[in-house]
Amino acid sequence: MDGLFDFIVSKYNYWGYVVLMMIGMYAMIVKKNLVKKIIGMNIFQTAIILFYVSIGAKRDATLPIIAHGHGDAHHAVHAVDYMNPLPHVLMLTAIVVAVATLGVALALTIKIYKQYNTLEEDEINARLRGR
């Protein structure tokens, strides 16, 4: 029982990202409204961000900002005391990429709306077949 509990505690953040990712994927597969699909896409990307950030976590460590940075040059810095900065850096990039994709996707949605006057995928498809 104790082992199971440890197992859950040590892994639940990864499960969290899986669940979030699957919610996003479900929205992208099932939803008919294009804006809902875009939201699903965003949730999907956010899940990956959560995953990366949880890689960076370290027990008993603090923010990756070195305390009294400039004061004492001989102040030894121990890697164990600080969280891993690299995933945060990568995710800053990934967030920006996600925002850029979102912008382009929304621009396209507006274009589609102008063209068909609807954002429901089945209605658009019906109209395309109708022609």
Binding site: M25, M28, L34, K37, M41, F44, Q45, I48, F51, Y52, I55, L86, P87, L90, T93, A94, V97, A100, T101, V104, A105, A107, L108, T109, K111, I112, Q115, Y116, I124, L128
Partner: protein, 488 residues
Amino acid sequence: MPLIAAFVATIAGWVNKKYCFAVAALGLTGALTSSVGLLSYVLTHGPVQYRLGGWAPPFGIAYQIDPLNALILVVIAAVALLNLLGTQRSVALEFSEKIGAFYTLYLLFVVGMLGIVSTGDAFNLFVLLEIASITGYALIGMGRDRAPLATLNYIFMGTIGASFYLLGVGYLYLITGSLNMADIAAILPQIYASKVVLFAFIFCMAGLFMKMAFFPVHGWLPNAYAYAPSAAAGLIAPLTTKVMVYAMVRIALFVFKPEFTFEQMGIGEPLVWAAVAAIVMGSLLALAQRQLKKMLAYVIVAEVGYMVGGFWLGNRAGISGAVLHIVNDAAMTLVVFMAAGNLFYRLKGDSFGALKGVFREMPVSMAAFVVGALSIIGVPPTCGFFSKWYLISGAIEAGHYGFVAALLFSSLVNAVLFFRIIEIGYFEPFTHANHHGHHQPPVRRFREVPMSMLVPLLVAAGSLILLGVFSGDLVTKVIHLALPGQIT
């Protein structure tokens, strides 16, 4: 080193806003010359590494150039330059008011592609991938008719693909703690047994398969390419899928070792069968199309099947064939899409009905189209034959006769496809839509496109034959040098 410095400077120089065609052309010419220089340098001096920011690789980002990616760099720069020169007029026609934005996106796309090929860092590859995709979405999205909808689907698929790739890189990072490809490759062999490595591999591959429109997930490609503006189609169609195949080769051979990829995974066989399915389905669906560009798009789906299948055969001939086919297919696709763009420029439509009698009206464009078509079919003097030859011999060596059959079948179908078009264009007389009466002398409804569009097309078509003639040299001198020695 100085060569690479010049190369990187060229990339960086494009990033700013370019408001005219001349600067774009100049930039691409610079890139072409520097990448050709780079290729010859790499061939004589061995692989080079450029450390960005001056940090040593596992900590900083490095560019890693070996014969394989130097070759692809040359291809990308050449394709981009030829297409740029050849489509100047149709760009001016289609986006009269947004030329500046168009060329900026065009250059950024090429920057992204060049970067993907030259980078030695797994995460950097993702960022560059997204640059190429976002600019690609915008370029395709400006097309006519159903283009926005097709592009939105492309965005969904592309984003899932990129996210999967990112997730795969995340797994690799989780398990190795590194992002540099060479560094990961050095660490991985000790932990091949881990399930995480397995899933990292699966995610990377799944992401790249989505991006390259490999068979079960090819849905976004045909509409996106068929409705794209011709200048954009001529750029994106030859490059995107090919560069993704390259990325697959790079990840599978240089991040994971060949032993792992081909022996431990045991997914080579099913993937070759998937490639067989891709080839067969792509060919059959192409047969069902009544629109030139859409048909060509399905042909691309089949071609992706060639490359993926050839690669996963896992022997030297197969992989050489796949890499050679990356080069050849980029050139072939460029030719047929540029020719289709020229037709579209004059005809304002690309359904088969509109093609009647085009040979008389636009003989030169159609001649180039025929060369491209022959190459896709795989007729000897052109380059398509040679890569197919390598692929088939690889398949026979691996004892995979299904793949051989699929290749032959697809050649057959391609022959039917293109001869159908040639027949329509050549033998069926041009008729006006509402039959003005047959006693009238035939009116030249349209003329051949201007010289500025023809010359690049002819150069591209000529390159197909040149590539064919020199393909033996290409394989022995460049590609064999590039593949890791363990592959037999």
